[in-house]
Amino acid sequence: MLPRMTEAPMREPTFLVLTALAATPQHGYAVIEDVARMTDGRVRLRAGTLYAALDRLRSDGLIEVDREEVVQSRLRRYYRLTGVGEQRLAAETARLHRQATLAESRLRTRRTPGEAFS
């Protein structure tokens, strides 16, 4: 397997989880709700997917446990972005931004087939 490079594009759930944790530490269910809100209900993370992402992000050192609370005898673990996680998210955001700008400029210079013949 190839080592995960810093420039490799991020999968969408990973990107959304990091974005959800960017401003403030959140617990698992809050991340699911936040992601649904951010994407206008388009992405609703399932528990399995969420924890696969959280586990991988933790072992890569992009996020860490902020604190644990027990609410109504249920465990709530809050996660926060690490310095490395912040850098990765910033790099990914810049990459997406560059791509979007590029696509925008290409769309502007696009000629319709009619124009090419005139």
């Binding site: 698992g28 269910y29 699911i32 399932r46 528990a47 399995g48 997917t49 969420l50 924890y51 696969a52 959280l54 586990d55 249920r74 465990l75 709530r76 673990r77």
Partner: protein, 292 residues
């Protein structure tokens, strides 16, 4: 059975390590997402849990199967040394035979094959073709065994006298199988294998540990021959075979155990030494203040 119990049952597909880290938290998330009065897990939630659980299980199994890079590099270097030892012995015997003038024909064919196989294994490790090296080393074990068997009709003590070759080839093959996943796939790994400096941290100590059983094997052979009195023994008895296995397995294992213990002791020593060094500057600082 209530919803929470049902979810916990589903979480059983996850590997134990994942469960102990996340099960309680995941149940909380799943229950937070449940509709009031819901009794059964939703189909999509259940499917996602099963899918991710099996994926986590497969990942855990892969992680167990592939040793960490330091161990892999150490195994590659130890395997290389083993292959060179085996090749050197066979080449030397080939050279002696040819200088004595009976190089042609059957008497040295087995030696020639052994020399060839282990030389190629060593070269494959050097150029970083680790998988091929491991496969050929396994074949090398069979060649060593065959080289014993072909002599059996004329020499009953052959298996006993050649125990070291079999033991050495088994160890070498085992090391190379552990090392089969190359860090760099092709020629790039030559400097990494040769120059221990560039091997990952911790590889050097591990090489020493792995070399201990490897160098013990040639020492164990004369010990074995003395123990069973090979020059006076009339025939290969069950007792002799037992002694053979005991010595050729026991001594290398003993060496390995001692080397592991020595490495641990040295690691402890280093730890205490850095601990002392860590305190030293502070005390020096205090000392200079006092002297003022």
């Amino acid at each position: 059975m209530n919803l929470e119990t049902r979810y916990r049952r589903l979480l059983a597909v996850y590997p134990a390590r994942h469960r102990s880290a996340y099960a309680d938290e995941m149940v909380a998330v799943l229950m937070d997402g449940a509709r009031p009065g819901q009794r059964l897990p939703s189909l999509r939630e259940a499917a996602d849990l099963l899918w991710c659980g099996f994926a986590a299980r497969a990942r855990a199994r892969r992680a167990v199967r592939s040793p960490d890079p330091a161990r892999r590099e150490a195994a590659a270097i130890a395997g290389l040394i083993g292959a060179v030892m085996l090749a050197a012995v066979a080449v030397r015997r080939l050279y002696l035979a040819s200088s004595m003038g009976f190089a042609e024909g059957a008497p040295v064919r087995d030696v020639a094959v052994r020399a060839l196989v282990w030389t190629v294994v060593a070269v494959l490790v050097l150029v970083g073709l680790r998988r091929s090296a491991a496969a050929l080393a396994v074949l090398g074990v069979l060649v060593e065994a065959a080289a014993i068997v072909v002599w059996l009709p004329v020499e009953a003590f052959r298996p006993i006298r050649m125990s070291w070759a079999l033991a050495l080839s088994l160890l070498t093959a085992a090391f190379l199988v552990v090392a089969r996943r190359a860090r760099r796939p092709v020629l790039g790994s030559v400097p990494a294998t040769l120059g221990l400096r560039r091997a990952p941290a911790g590889a050097r100590g591990r090489v020493a540990v792995l070399l201990a059983p490897l160098v013990t094997v040639p020492v164990a052979q004369p010990v074995l021959e003395t123990v069973i009195g090979i020059h006076t023994a009339p025939a290969v008895t069950a007792g002799i075979v037992l002694a053979d296995v005991a010595v050729m397995v026991g001594l290398p294992l003993l060496a390995l155990g001692l080397a592991v213990a020595a490495r641990r002791a040295m690691a402890d020593l280093r730890l205490t030494r850095t601990g002392v060094a860590g305190h030293a500057p502070a005390e020096q600082g205090r000392g200079s203040q006092h002297s003022r």
